[in-house]
Symmetry: D2
């Protein structure tokens, strides 16, 4: 009974079926009929014209987005706990050719305009320091918190005022959108977002994420950067197929809701005292003593410790209902 990462979940049937039916001779790279539908499909979803491309990982999506927004001699503001800072082995530095990440603070890996403003104030406006060129937030955050449209828009306004590009790492964008129930536009371009890494893999895809540019002119150079990074797959139709299948009929939302619901059940079972943070998406951070953690593991539950006395439980689109019930009961019984 695995709760250690949504990365480990299975591929959802819709995506798998689309991969199978994508087979058959078509043009290579992203010239096929499926890949060519991607921008249109996301434009429809977001209700505005966007440029969208597939890549194989969220790391690549994030890094390509950041390279589009920040020069090598610039800086990217993000949270100290951001995935781009801690879990991508310096991919943003690689793709931007050495831009610097400036780290802001905030509970639950969530940034506020105040925190960003305070960080920006530490940078002198001279050639001896890299100048901030972009802000990157993660929604839902690495700690399972969700930015509302209003919170996102407040950051978007700050970006506009300061001349920063605005990127959202949406590895769990679906979980955020499902939680809030708003139109995806409200969490993105209407809130000033320039580029979104729209995650599908954690949510039931196999190997395709979408990089969505709301400033469509950013896509042109990105196509070269994607190829140059070895991310223009020969048989792109299998990439596009996954994404299109999960957009179709809002599978992406349905999957995310399932994961969020499972997390909510765990949270309810844990109770407020055990929760390190509110549970707003599909991650549950609970206070457990080493003995309690061992007891849970002895019952067959697999999860990561997350700092001393804390554990991270991650649910996914295919979290087994019975397993969730059993874990909920086990936590309640601690």
């Amino acid at each position: 009974m695995r709760f250690f990462s949504d990365n480990a979940a299975a591929v959802c049937p819709e995506a798998m079926a689309a991969i199978a039916t994508a087979d058959g001779l078509d043009t290579a790279y992203d010239g096929d009929r499926l890949s060519r539908r991607l921008s249109e499909a996301f434009s429809e979803l977001f209700g505005t014209e966007v440029a969208a491309l597939w890549v194989a990982t969220g790391t690549a999506a994030n890094s390509l987005a950041l390279a589009a927004l920040c020069p090598p001699h610039g800086a990217i503001v993000c949270h100290r706990d951001a995935h781009i800072q801690n879990d991508e082995c310096g991919a943003p530095e690689f793709y931007t050719h050495g831009a610097k990440l400036l780290l802001a603070e905030g509970p639950g890996a969530k940034l506020t305009p105040e925190a960003v403003t305070a960080l920006l104030a530490t940078v002198r406006d001279d050639v001896h320091q890299v100048q901030p060129a972009a802000l990157s937030i993660t929604n839902a955050t690495e700690y399972g918190l969700v930015y509302t449209p209003e919170e996102t828009a407040a950051l978007g306004e700050l970006c506009k005022a300061k001349g920063l590009g605005f990127h959202v790492d949406g590895a769990r964008f679906a979980n955020a959108a499902a939680r809030i129930g708003c139109h995806p536009a409200d969490l993105t371009w209407k809130a000033g977002v320039d580029a979104l890494s729209f995650g599908f893999v954690k949510n039931g895809g196999m190997s395709a994420e979408a990089l969505v540019f709301f400033r469509t002119e950013l896509a042109a150079a990105t196509l070269y950067r994607r190829k140059r990074a070895g991310h223009l797959l020969s048989k792109g139709r299998y990439m596009a197929a996954q994404i299109l299948a999960m957009l179709d009929g809002d599978v992406w939302l349905r999957n995310a809701r399932a994961a969020n619901d499972a997390a909510a059940r765990l949270a309810a079972a844990a109770g407020a005292d055990r929760l390190v943070l509110p549970v707003e998406a599909n991650e549950v951070f609970v206070r457990v003593s080493p003995g309690e953690a061992a007891a849970l593991r002895a019952q067959g539950f697999d999860f990561y410790d997350w700092g001393p006395g804390e554990a991270r439980l991650v649910t996914s689109w295919d979290s087994d209902g019975a397993a969730v019930d059993r874990l909920a009961a086990a936590i309640a019984a601690l």
Copy 2:
């Protein structure tokens, strides 16, 4: 009836089946049970201990290999017509942080020790010039020629004498091995090769290529470079599954033979006078006038022009027998 690229071929049934059965909860990235079998499987195939990892494209495999062999202030010797020079949008320069490609000459994109030696002789041994650190050849070449074990070994000896790392771009390594019928070791480590980009996608895979290091110590830093490049997929088991399925029962060789055979039939139909180069793998370069090319296209055959008065016909593992027959007949009838 498409003969423009083996990139456009379908996924072979063995790979597709393996993808389906790879499903189910397992560890993320390359910690899963399939990915962990990769080095062993290739060690068995090559008859020596190797370190193997999957990546999503040949461009990534090539660039990671070159980054392992050449410092930023070094140079890579390759053929003027090499894929790494002409078709990867500068990926080798990106991954090596700016190494220079030095271009040697030779018919059919094939290098000889003499050509490489002549090129090396133009480089002064001083800090004002980047110093050659690696040789990269393509087998089968971009023009469908094949390096024999002896030819490869001669280059390998030169590399050893000159202190160069030796990389083989094997996007069509299967076609070369199938053609020659030798043990894969004879085309690689026994011939002094340090790193091989072992192609599966053109040969029936979906999205996985293997990077095989015969100098296993090169893999350690490469694992970081792969992650840093966004090429460590979350659900790596779907990558490993394709490769393992195609190694199993020598599907990779059977597929390559099918492609080679189809090319041979086209070559026979074309006749020596029409052939620009001998047909040794799955690419056929034929002399056709613009009118003849138009006539073939009018009959439903799709292919690329390749310079004035020449066309490139590429066969693949799933080339339709009837279509090949029809094209052979059409060429013969020109």
Copy 3:
């Protein structure tokens, strides 16, 4: 009466005279008779065999040293207030091709083994994070503190234990050595230092800093990196001349002592209550109200504010004695 930076000081007579006498036809780059003496001169100074090369700036010296010690996918541990982090516009990231700086804490920009160990403990040993490869300290620090031989050696031992290269940014190494009065070896190779940026410009030079490798094998690739960075000046003899002239007869120590002495006089005048930090080299950080700062400026003293309620006063080899006396009196009179 300027106290804002030792960067603004004049060129000392010995260096200027050496530049004049370096004139005359000689070989270009670093093949001339002066440049070829550099390694020998520093080997003599340090009492061990070193490889030394000139570069035009401390930023270049630091970045070349770090590039020699850290791969692109590695990390460099330094203080949050380090020059390499805050004042070089990302030069370390440029030269290392995107290595990450990990920031440790400590008063006065000074690091301890405990602080470094605590930072290292936050890094997971997996491919998702850049792995620490080097430690860089500044002696004297950006806040005018000095590492003793013992303190340096303790960090050197930690580096050895953790497999980190050890770099010292010695933009004010002369001031540190003059303060301590030890043999320069005790602050460098005997304490485990691998590479030293040995500053001359702040100390009376015109345009030459020395990069000294105590692990001489690091110099070979650095020569290529220096050329590649455009730092191999055509007429290198004018660079070497400055450095050799300042090594000769220990001008470098004499100059540093003069600067340190001037700072000590200011410190004594300020008194312990006004001093933000002990004054150990040629920088004095004093608590002054905005009104007091304005009063000093009205008397003709030029200096930088350094955070709210603080000012930085920097002395140099040529600090005018009368001006120092007047500033000392003015501070005492506040």
Copy 4:
């Protein structure tokens, strides 16, 4: 009697005097009163508003210019024998983060619109190839030939038509301008040039070259790149002083004329049959047998062999008249 490189010449008295008088306390970096005059001085010289900055080497000037004109995924067209290709250890690749140099042909390292057009025609307009973004020529060329204003303008028009930035490596721009006798504007902005590396070091300077942007908006990011490359010297006034002194009273032209005249005398002595190329600047390429070369060296003349049966003789602003006469006589007597 050295004729191997103008890099080895002495510093001219005007530059040396300016260095001496630049001494004295002033602001650091490029904020001093001399550095701040640079753009104005070059604007006056060129008769249009330019942005000019000093750097320590021609390699840095060239690379910064190219980085301003070409993205990492772009390409720079230059001659196969260009200094940026052969003598800078990959500095353009370093500064541009891996752009590719595309090599065109032409006698005497000189490019024509036809040669450039032919090269451009080989590049496919798709993401698999780096797209040309800039043209770089050297005037005077590496083989001592000079582009006329008309020839330069023809290339400038091609650049405009093709959307390429236009850079001139003017390590010997003074020699070219002196030869032609035109206004410097005619060889630069009036001919469509965007950026000029204006050499002073070979022409009597000590350590300062000027990078002149005719599209002034290119300077802003370049200031960051210069700092980031470690090329923002602390005591910039000594850099600016050299350049301003050589602009003042057209010392730069006078020095170049002296070098050109000396070369012309050698050329006349050699006679047309011995000359490999016309002598238009300060480099003389002569056909000499190994025995003849040895004979010249036995008489005390120092120079480089330049391919089999050829030698390169370089004169400089301070070429000794008597030595030139003796070499001329010695060549004539061969």
